[in-house]
Symmetry: D2
Subunit: 342 residues, 4 copies
């Protein structure tokens, strides 16, 4: 059994980690921390866990994190970077669900996240935890930068096109729509049901923190800098991301075959039949990305539709997938939940 | 492995049975029928099942139902009664998720359901499949009448009070609220998102088909006829039932202790702490009923709050629970999903 | 033109007052205050008001409230009571949408609201602003206590039965369901879309602040103290209250005739045909209460269904109705919006 | 008073016409037809109209349509074209909310709509009723083709760029999101709350009927054929369209000034401040299009955000706006409702 610690489990990625790990046959939930809620049973905050998770939130100062085999950070940005060095030194593997280790260029990170990085030397070591891209590196990593939700959906959707070199790299467009759980479990007026319900809006058009993360990933795959316009939107649902991706073809290619070949053998990426439209509910509560590729009217614009559950393949499920790889387990272990529909 | 057949799997109880049985370690999905959709892969209708259920809908005329160990009817009312006799004769156990065998008094059934019963002789044999009430009888049954969704939530909530004889039996009130999946996967205007969304209404106040089912169950427990007012409401959510129950106390009793004692040892009934309020999302997608009991201002009115997922403990999950009992398996086998929150 | 001031217009009752008053032919929006947002154009906070309301939030210390003919308090509880004395002295009429003047018994108020009342002498003078009950008194009032949302729906539903003396007064039950805007525009986790969406729960069963307000109103109408069980619920919609009321008949009466007679001539109370079920969306964004009365199975329990828009007839619309009465205008002036459906 | 007839008022554009016209000071609702519902009071189908619209649905065969000054067709596609000739001959003006007269090229229309056109000679005469484009022509028209919902949002958003000749016309992208009322009041499984709720998906990527309508409009404005990729999506809300538009700049231009100038003086188009994001709820139930224009990271891709209420500016409100123009009334008459928020 893998001894698991979770730092900061009071948000949605925290409760989702708990849901998945409580059912994982090789994980032993050992400690979960929250400075603010120390002493409170986890199931008092998250009533779905009643009878399934008996832990109480522990003070991070005294929690036995160093006795764990792996520690997940389900914290706001800027926390993991202050504690990772010590944990790694104690032989603990670290999976950060926040953004502290996602951007290799530290000055870019500092610009977008508005903080000074506390351990820039570890940024280089960290492996970007998108298994469909980086599986081999993940196997031997100590420190995983778990991808953001939008970046997961967008990169998985664009990757086959970019790796194959068939699209104009200067004018990629990602129009992405997210459910409100992506904003986290924070008391903010704009995320109230009375504000976000029955409403749709774009946000962050001028620049969203996931833009440099996506650009970095696509640029690496392309072997050159790419030009990306990324527009995120808030949609009145709880879970789910739908990325609609646009690129201009500059070579003839069998798009369907390209995507099927790229993801053959991937347990968590499902390429749909031509002409279909994936729905976010088809992946609700499960660690799956479903993708369809279109070429409307046979023109030179390719449209890729990519859906994930932002809390699973876009966060906690992918983190568990990374844990499985890190510890040499079957990659699908504990991640075989059937999506919930309706 | 138990060979399982499903008759009529194109509705919500059907897809939920498939979700649960696809993950059940002792169930082998053998056949699923739909006259209208024969030949269509199940996963084309229910995209959450892609990669998990490979069956196609089969024509009921040729489907190998008699080779099954158990057949679930996830059909409209009035179908199971026409096919059960033959299946039982072939040694197949039958679990009907519709109402054909729920009401012991055939004339009452015929009045409320507006049909002539096709096999009244089997009504007497059928066991009402509420395990928390009828576990022993279920063990040796051939034919299970799986309870309705409202009746499950209401009976589990009232039962401790009635068995203990502490409330006025003539004036029970059940004010129940259901998500729209309870109306089934039928093309009806009133259930459109544009009609049922952002809206709340009562329906069937003059008389709902679940009234005689609940009355029968409560009357049996009471040993006398009870007087029940049952008002169902439609609430703009997908899954979930919340029953708010009112009864007048006519004896002093420790309500909390009464409920805890009644459900001690029950894996699927969770009595919450005094003063709390169960939420429907705390049981979303799981086979659990959570109950809290209140006595506002210390008066003589007891208020019971009872929540279930109408598609799980209110339908397909309870059906699998009954299957487990019928076949001598652990009652919780394949039913240990953690509820999805948020 | 009536010069109107609004104190504290940053919540939902504030924006709804602005929407209604901006279209009111006799109201002149003169000032709106917010300590925190002073200087911000109102339409920057509430984009629906762009081009329709040009005011900026003003500091309450300098806002010309005393030059107004009427001031609405759309503030949290406990604010109006500190400023009303001075405004009345300046000849300004006051309509408080909060609870400061609703409960005649000051000690009861202080117990439920947890504060010391700042001007108990005005409590006696204040008129409870439910026009269908108190129209005559409102005409000559200086200070209106605008009713709460639940109290409006519940009192209008129970009133005909109580005034006619046909029900058991000791065991009234009000099972009420509210959309989330009733909780106000406050940053609170439980009201997030990701928490309150696709979810249903009761709250405050042990005691909600609207209980003494409703009890007071019903007791006055009955001429004796009544026994009421009040259970509010949160339903995943934005606007709307549905009250389901239960009482035991102790006299034979033509219920339909009783309700129709009681509300004949009332512009804002609509008694539906027998056997029908009012929907909250049928009153969305309009100042109407729709009521249907049922007697299921001809038993002795009467069921009343009463719906309002909590922000209109349950708050701001009723406040404007009160303003119309106070100033001798047609009661329906500016309140003839057709409800929005779908 | 203008005598108004409505053909086919049982859908959402019908009820919205009724809501608007019931409050219009110069409109007299004279007749409304429905073959299927003849004899039913309109307010029985649409409870929001109780007390406000006293009409019953009339059989179209006998309804006094020819006595009207104007007839609105709120029918499925293919109905108006069979009745318009006769109405025009009787001197009645016709406003078709369906698509029968929107596409000038009849063969294109017949291909996309799968029918033979019943009166191709009138197609040429019909004026496309987008007042911000065609105001002068509308004034003297007999027959108005009221634009589709997506086409309204997309054309208003793209028009300033195209008229100014500052973008690459071959690679326009319109990523549009609609609430479910856009699908109409039809009993279809995919639009059930249990299907479309908490879900997001694209549809019609291979080709949607609004594509030729939008292309025609943009091509006319450009004076040349444009290349457009149009991807519609279904979002879980009732009302609202959000169009996110992408184009590549090929000239330097002050985008904000361009948009402000283009729509100066337009009562129903609101250009927001730079850097902002319009929300669909900011136009809910009102005849407004709000637009913001962005140029992310100062690159060569311009992003336009355009929102409307699909049932108002995208259908019935725009139809009333056209009626006002046709009859020489103030264009805003009866269309000054403040949007509903929250």
């Amino acid at each position: 059994m893998i001894k698991v610690g979770i730092v900061g489990g009071t948000g949605y990625t925290g409760v989702e980690l708990l849901r998945l790990l409580a059912q994982h046959p090789q994980a032993q939930l050992t400690t979960i921390t929250s400075r603010k809620e120390a002493g409170m049973p986890v199931a008092d905050m998250f009533p779905n866990l009643r009878g399934r998770v008996d832990l109480k939130f522990e003070d991070p100062a005294t929690a036995p994190l160093k006795q764990c085999d792996v520690v997940f950070f389900a914290t706001p940005n800027g926390i993991a970077m202050t504690q990772t060095r010590e944990l790694l030194a104690a032989g603990v593997k670290v999976i950060d669900l926040a953004a502290d280790f996602r951007i290799t260029d530290v000055s870019t990170w500092e610009k977008w996240y508005g903080m000074t990085h506390a351990c820039p030397e570890l940024v280089a070591e960290a492996v970007y935890g998108l298994p469909e891209l980086n599986r081999e590196k993940i196997k031997s990593a100590r420190l995983i930068a778990n991808p953001g939700c939008y970046p997961t959906a967008v990169q998985l959707g664009f990757m086959p096109l970019i790796e194959a070199g068939v699209v104009d790299l200067n004018h990629l467009i990602a129009d992405a729509k997210s459910g409100v759980s992506g904003a986290g479990r924070k008391a903010e007026v704009h995320a109230l049901l009375a504000e976000a319900g029955d409403n749709f809006k774009a946000y962050g058009v001028a620049g969203h923190r996931h833009l440099p993360e996506i650009s970095q990933g696509l640029s690496r795959a392309a072997g050159q800098s790419v030009g990306l316009t990324f527009v995120p939107h808030l949609t009145p649902m709880i879970r789910g991301i739908h990325a609609t991706l646009y690129a201009r073809l500059n070579k003839e290619v069998d798009l369907q075959a390209l995507f099927e070949k790229r993801y053959r053998g991937e347990a968590f990426v499902d390429v749909l039949a031509p002409g279909t439209h994936p729905e976010t509910r088809s992946v609700r509560a499960a660690n799956i990305c479903r993708i369809a590729v279109h070429r409307p009217q046979g023109g030179d614009t390719v449209v890729v539709l990519s859906v994930i559950d932002n809390l699973v393949k876009g966060a906690s499920g992918q983190a568990v997938q990374n844990m499985n790889i890190l510890f040499g387990l079957s990659e699908t272990l504990g991640l075989d939940q059937v999506p919930i529909l309706p």
